[in-house]
């Protein structure tokens, strides 16, 4: 008979091993799914997980693309993870991402067509501020009126989407192209263009920012008092209060940081790979980043790996469609399965299975 037994302490081994195991299980389950669809499972898995990096045909192009796709995920997830550790649940990073993009693009469009080295730094500041501002709404509502930040931040995503549409159709519309929504292409405005820093590497300022954020978060969580407070508030709220943690302040700080980072991600995207403010600008980075944060164990280094993996599933998913006619929904299924297997496996971090002798049924 199999019996469940609660571990005295969560298993450190499984905490680290589970994400890897979840990836392997996702590959296996994916292979079964592809086989059922009548596709060669080995080829499918190879296309999704290996070809974007190692293929001779695509590798040199898609390796840099991996950075472009992963950078916003990592940047957003690092911020979210800080809050998640303190049990502060910002689910609305997508909205903060949109607002950051709008603020950043707004600065650029206000200066157009002036040259000037100061424009891009101003956009960066505006982008972070836009995301911060949008995150302050759930923060203040929570600290003042004790509303639920999960619901408020999530619903504000839909508000942000409407503002985005209004901007693309109205205020920020490119006046030079009659009738079509969407702003000027920032990639064609040198002072505002978040271009590749080195040709064909995929490294733009957003990638640099993600790296800085990861280091910053790592130092903060392991070395700084604030990191200690965050961990304490998450694990032992009562003890945290005795240690002098002010819950309201922590809510504002955590939502503020994650909002600002999501805003930055949006700004770097709209001025670089995205190129312009358009109605369909937001493609779900803010939501996928939640998977990245959890898959990375809320640890900055883990988040880098998880972000790269999720970026890989996007790019590999496209290759799978193109080369093998896998359905497009396969990417979403993959991402969903990753989180699903991880959550299921995390069970054994806290519990263990015991084989015991028992009567046969």
């Amino acid at each position: 008979m199999i019996r469940l037994e609660k571990r005295k302490e969560p298993s450190k081994f499984w905490r680290i091993a589970n994400p890897f195991l979840a990836v392997v299980l996702t590959m296996l389950a994916g292979a079964v799914m592809f086989a059922m669809l009548g596709k060669d499972p080995v080829v499918a898995i190879r296309l999704i997980f290996f070809d974007p990096i190692f293929s001779e045909t695509f590798g040199s192009y898609s390796r840099p693309q991996l950075l472009i796709k992963s950078a916003p995920l990592i940047l957003i997830a690092v911020g979210l993870a800080i809050g998640f550790k303190a049990n502060i649940w910002n689910i609305g990073a997508e909205g903060q991402y949109i607002m950051g993009a709008l603020f950043g693009a707004g600065v650029a469009l206000a200066f157009f067509p002036a040259p000037g080295w100061y424009i891009f730094p101003l956009m960066v500041a505006a982008g972070a501020f836009g995301g911060f501002l949008w995150a302050m709404i759930p923060a203040i509502l929570k600290t003042r009126f004790n509303t639920n930040e999960i619901l408020v931040s999530l619903l504000l995503v839909y508000v942000a989407e409407r503002i985005l549409a209004a901007m693309a159709l109205g205020l920020m519309r490119n006046p030079d192209i009659a009738g079509f929504p969407g702003s000027r292409d920032l990639r064609r405005y040198d002072a505002a263009h978040n271009a590749e820093l080195f040709a064909n590497t995929g490294i733009h300022w957003g990638v640099v920012a993600a790296l800085i954020a990861v280091i910053f978060a790592y130092v903060m969580m392991t070395r700084h008092m604030l990191g200690f407070h965050v961990q304490l508030a998450g694990q032992a709220p009562r003890a945290a209060r005795f240690a002098g943690v002010v819950p309201a302040r922590l809510v504002v700080i955590c939502l503020g940081i994650s909002g600002a980072l999501a805003g930055l991600a949006g700004m770097f995207e709209v001025s670089g790979p995205g190129g312009q403010v358009r109605i369909e600008f937001a493609t779900g980075y803010g939501f996928t980043a939640i998977i990245v944060a959890f898959l990375g164990r809320l640890n900055p280094i883990g988040i880098v790996l998880a972000g790269l993996l999720l970026g890989l599933t996007y790019i590999g998913g496209e290759l799978g469609q193109m080369m093998l006619q896998l359905p497009g929904a396969a990417i979403q299924v993959f991402q969903g399965m990753l989180l699903f297997f991880l959550l299921a496996l995390d069970f054994q971090t806290n519990y263990r299975l015991r084989l015991t002798r028992g009567a046969r049924a």
């Binding site: 040199s60 192009y61 009738g179 064909n200 190129g275 358009r278 109605i279 496209e318 193109m322 497009g328």
Partner: protein, 356 residues
């Protein structure tokens, strides 16, 4: 183009160019929605399959669905070019900037952009369908058949193509029913069944007894059937989804064009063009007219289709005033293609405003 960009482009092009297999022509399709939408993307995929059927072993086709505008589209098209694709069809208007960026890097690959307007290099061709011709016909049917004099219109994005469709349908409904009113709801999506269903419900609540859609899902039709009213399908024959509500619908017929263009690539005669085909060329078609439409109205509709196809009638023939009452087309004057393709105003009589 700056020196840096030129260098980047040539380095990328030289380092990554892959010679295509000489014997098979590879054709790639970039879709904005899922192939199962039964609307816009579905019709392009039907045409892709027809293309395979027609040209057989001479070609190989592939597609990527749900490709977002921007960086994703640029990457998908680049990957297609890298894998030796000879001709890429990108089937949504927002792919313009991305397609032109990729086209500049891969001068040997041919590109065709549906409903686009940006043509920066000579390997980018544009094609579009005169859907407003079809809208005129279903507008006529709606004007004749509505009892409440209220027609509900589910629109996607306020771009010239959609505004043109609303104007065309309204003008022809109004011509046969001076009391007709159009209520327009903007879904801000080409394909969002839940949103489209909600829009249909809102329109029905406002009294609409006929629904038209410029979005791609079948949801509005099923809502209409449940409410016991009529509706028009979109893009493909959607009658099976709501046989008691579906009157007819404009269908998108891309196959002849795709076959012609791919054949041109095979023959080595492909050149970038810019075409706008209508009922006459067969790019705009109709789902079978339902028996729900009274016979005389069906005959009128058929007559109108024939007149448009023959070039005897243009749906935008003056006198037509703009919404604000200023004259647009004088008596007998026909709208120019340029005017239509940049249309950003409603015609006189429509009471709502274009979102801005």
């Amino acid at each position: 183009m700056s020196l840096k960009k030129t260098l980047t482009a040539s380095v990328l092009g030289a380092a990554l160019a892959v010679p295509a297999l000489a014997d098979t022509t590879k054709v790639g399709f970039v879709y904005i929605g899922p192939v199962g939408d039964h609307g816009w993307t579905y019709t392009h995929d039907v045409a892709r399959l027809a293309l395979e059927e027609e040209l057989g072993d001479a070609i190989e086709t592939t597609y990527v669905e749900n490709v977002a505008y921007g960086a994703d589209a640029e990457r998908v098209m680049t990957q297609m070019a890298l894998s030796g694709t000879d001709l890429i069809f990108a089937t949504s208007f927002g792919y313009g900037p991305d397609m032109n960026t990729v086209a500049a890097r891969f001068p040997d690959v041919k590109f065709e952009h549906a409903t686009g307007y940006i043509q920066e290099t000579d390997n980018v061709g544009l094609y579009n369908a005169r859907f407003y011709e079809g809208r005129a016909v279903i507008g006529h049917i709606a004007g004749k058949m509505t009892q409440t004099n209220k027609v509900g219109y589910i629109a996607s994005f306020p771009i010239p193509e959609v505004i043109m469709g609303i104007n065309s349908a309204y003008l022809h409904a109004k011509a046969v029913n001076p009391d007709v009113e159009f209520n327009v709801v903007w879904a801000y999506s080409w394909y969002d069944p839940a949103q489209e269903a909600a829009a249909a419900e809102a329109l029905i609540e406002q009294g609409a007894d006929i629904i038209m859609q410029h979005t791609d899902s079948t949801a509005p039709l099923t809502v209409a059937q449940d409410a016991g009213i009529f509706a028009f399908g979109q893009a493909s024959d959607m009658s099976a989804f709501a046989p008691e509500a579906h009157l007819t619908g404009i269908t998108d017929v891309w196959a002849p064009y795709y076959i012609e263009r791919v054949q041109a690539v095979i023959d080595g005669t492909w050149e970038a063009g810019n075409v706008w085909h209508g009922i006459n060329e067969g790019m705009v078609g109709f789902a079978p007219m339902s028996d729900l439409i009274p016979e005389d109205i069906r005959a009128e509709a058929e007559g109108m289709i024939a007149a448009i196809a023959a070039g005897e009638y243009h749906p935008f023939t003056g006198p037509i005033n703009r919404q604000d009452g200023t004259p647009w087309l004088a008596e007998g004057e026909v709208a120019s293609d340029g005017d239509l393709l940049t249309m950003d105003f409603y015609v006189e009589g429509i009471t709502s405003e274009i979102p801005n």
